[in-house]
Each structure stands twice: as C-alpha cells, then as structure tokens.
Symmetry: C2
Subunit: 297 residues, 2 copies
Amino acid sequence: MAKYGFGLDLGGTTCKCGLFTAEGELLEKWEVPTDTSNGGVNILKDLAQTVVKKMDEKNITSDDVLGVGIGIPGPVSDEGVVNRCVNLGWGVFNVEKEFSECLGGIKVKAGNDANVAALGESWMGAAKEYSSSVMVTLGTGVGGGVIINDNIISGAQGAAGEIGHIRVNYTEENTCGCGNHGCLEQYCSATGIARLARIRLAQNDDDDEAKKGDTVAKEIAKRACEYLAQGLQVISCVVNPEAFVIGGGVSKAGQYLVDEVEYRFNQIAFHGCRNTKIVLASLGNDAGIYGAMKLIL
Amino acid sequence: MAKYGFGLDLGGTTCKCGLFTAEGELLEKWEVPTDTSNGGVNILKDLAQTVVKKMDEKNITSDDVLGVGIGIPGPVSDEGVVNRCVNLGWGVFNVEKEFSECLGGIKVKAGNDANVAALGESWMGAAKEYSSSVMVTLGTGVGGGVIINDNIISGAQGAAGEIGHIRVNYTEENTCGCGNHGCLEQYCSATGIARLARIRLAQNDDDDEAKKGDTVAKEIAKRACEYLAQGLQVISCVVNPEAFVIGGGVSKAGQYLVDEVEYRFNQIAFHGCRNTKIVLASLGNDAGIYGAMKLIL
C-alpha cells in the first residue's frame, strides 16, 4: 500500500502545502490563505480542512498518511511547543498536539520555518549529498538552520541557527531589528544591503551618478560577501559542517556570490575547516514543504 | 554480573587512565607515560598492556568489559580515523580498529580530547543537568567541545568545537598560532592574557610599578571577559546550548570570571539566547577520562 505525507510551510499571509510520497516525491502543491484574525485561532482548523480535502480528492485514508509536518514562523521546542509567533498572533501552546487533534489523530511534527527549510535543502536540495550542512537564507532578514546527521539542531530555546544575529562588527552604531549592533543581518539581508547603499550614496560627492551607482554597488556587494564569509568562519569553528547552503532573494546574485564568499572564507577559515563546500540553495520556495515532509519521516 | 569500562585520556607526556563501573563510578585512576619514540608506534601496545594488567589485578574478564574509550590530542573522524597527532608522532590510521586488535577484540571508541572532556563534563560534571552544552577550555590555548543531545558534534573534518579559533577581532595585527588574526585564543588563553599584559605594560609610563601592574591586570581581565562573551554570543546563535562550561587553568579565576562573562554575554546575546547558564567545569583533569568512558556507553 502506498504511503503519503504532507509538508506545510506556514507564513503570515499564506500556507504552502505539499502532498508527498513516502519517498519524497512531491505529487502536488498548493497554497491556502492564513487567517490571522482573532489571534490566529482558525489557522489549524483551516489547515486540517485543506489536508482532509486533499485526502478525499485523492482517495487517501488516514491509514495511508505517515503524518503532517509543519514549518512555523517562530521558535518551536523539540516537544512541539510554539513560543509566540507574532506574524500569526499565536501565544504559547503545543501545536503538534492541537493540530493532531484537528486531524483526527494523524501524527504531526512541527519545526521553526527557517530550520525546516534547511532540512528540506539537506534532504532533497543542494545539500542532498551531505549529512551535515548549515543553510543561510539572505532575505528581508537573514535566517538559517543547522543540520547535523540529517537532523535539525533546534537549540535549548529554539534559537539555534539564528545566523543573522551572529555579531560580525563591533563598531556598528546603527541598531539591528533585534536591538543589538553589528549583526550579520545588518549587512547581508536585502534591507541591510539597501541600508548600506543609502549610507554610502549619501557620502559620495562624485558627480557622475551612473558611475557612482555602479562603484557603490560593487563596494556594497564586496562588503556583504566579507561579512558573510566572517559569519561562515565562526559557524565552521562551532559545528564544522560539510556544506553551507546559501538561499533567499539575495542569493539570486548566483555563482558570483558563491565565488566571492568562498574566496574570502578560505582566507579566514580555521585551517581544519577550509574547503567546506558552499552551494546555492536549489529548492527555492519549496524548501519549506520538503523539510516539513522530512520532519515526519 | 558487574560490568566495567575504561576511559583513557592520551596526552603527549602521559596517558590518564580510569576504571569505571557501567554506571559511571570511577573506581580507580592512574597514569602511564606516553612513549612518542618511533612515531608513537608503541603507544597503543603500552595502553593495551596497562588495561589488561588492571583487568588481571581486579579479576575482570573481557566479557565484563563494555569497552575502552580514548581521548586523543588531534582530529578523530566519527569512524575512528586519526588525522595526524603532532604531539604523538602519529599519521593517519584507524585508531579504534588497531587499539581493539591490541586488546583482543574489546570494543574501542575514540574522540578528540577536547571534545571528550566536554562530554565528561556533560555526563558527570558541571553540565550534568543539561542535554546540550558547550565547553570552553581556557588553557595554554583555547579548546572546546559541543555536546547536543548528550553526544559530541565532531564536525565534517573533526574541527567542530574549535572555539579558540572563532574570530572575535578584525583589527588584530599579531598572528595566532593557527596563522589567522584575531582568534579568541589570542585574548582568553593563558598565553594570550600574558601577551596582552606584556604589550600593555610596555605602553604604560606610569611610575608606580605595583599600582601599574594592578591596573593593567584588571584591564586585561576585563578584555579577556569581553572577548569570551563575544565568543559565547556567536556560539549561542549557532547551537543555542542550555549551558556553557568554562574550564582550564584560566577558569581558576572562579566565580569572578563567570559573573563578568555572564554580565557581558547577556548584554550582547541575541534575545532568544539570553540567560544561557554559564558554569565552571567541575571535573578538573578527570573530565577526559569520564568523557572517554562515556564514549563506549
């Protein structure tokens, strides 16, 4: 009898959903809106409904379902307790237990969304060949996930893989979103890069605007790569992964980014960690649903 | 029938040996010299001899021995392959396989000595209550070990837990033993602290020598604590352990050190990682034999 599983990637606007075979083949994917009204009280019911509807549509019974994995935008303990998700309006409760009840007892496993995306890339994406990898997602912010022996390291307070808040500059005067100064996120996120460009352009008194823009862009890109390499330097001294996976919107800079970061990383890495593979994420927005599916295997 | 195990902590001068019950009670400990002549070719035979002699003395048969764990001063892969130990004269070979043959087939598990000491503190020492901890050993150099779910994270190239080579200063001109600049070890090891004191004393032109020494000592201690807190900041963003264990000679500064580092850590830590416990190592030189014993359980 064929077995199936569901991988859900819950965000503040929509939830991405995937129906998978037990072997990890993505059979179908779709999205449903996230209803954050009334402290997000309807979210789990809505998600249970879309899962059950898909099961009916495909003639899949509860016995055929290995489980439902879900990535959540906030800290999740190993026991499945979420500890406030501002984007959803959620407080503190056991999401695995509640969601499983909504699903008539189907097994549920939950994880932090950034960690779950890292697990997806580790399972079926760019780090498929490696049993340990660290993903760094360069988006609006900088997130990440640490995978060791094919499992997520979630941390005592669910804060492992908070790569964006590694401090890489001790002289920064501007404040990061987290309240600290000099976090990696301040230089390598999309907003961080834009911030640096604005500061730099305001300083520049060169007359040729086009040339100025080009020079500044190169300078900022170089700086972002330097800081990112610095972040990878410290990560490798802590967990020495086989590979780093670079994802998120900023990673669309592509192989240029990888080459620049790799060059700088190998200059400053501890000798025992040099030549760690650096690769671009390959699953894009599907990393989360793949990782969520992997949670239940 | 009672079961026993041996924990060995192999150094370049001596090997510390412990006979344990399966429950982790240290029944007896002793040391044997390390014979590094001829590329360390006699080391494993000598160690097998001291283990077998102890078994005879105590009327312990091979069937009563769960195994022999050994901490080694160099990188060791998860498969038991050592990759050059300069202090022993060793090249590349499978130490678990060879040592087990010397012991007539008794199971052997090997690990890097700093990681194994961290495992000892996690199992029976200062981090006994925590399933995840990171040990930082402030000795001649700065070493460490990362313990997650009661197991060592050894890293792809055996370089996980190389806490001493986390880069914490981007403007350092002096070179670390590893060839890099600005490693934690350059500020928090015994040699690092002495180096900073020498540099600082040479700069000082205050006439009162005693007062001068006192002021400089306080200043250097403060700086060491600042850098250590910085190292803990980045470690906590990567693995977010329940506790940090501070060991090694420099940690004899005691609770003063813990309080200073804790104060600074909580100022700069990512909010999700604040209030991580910081504790002093409690097993001293026995951490290695405890951790080695734990390897075989």
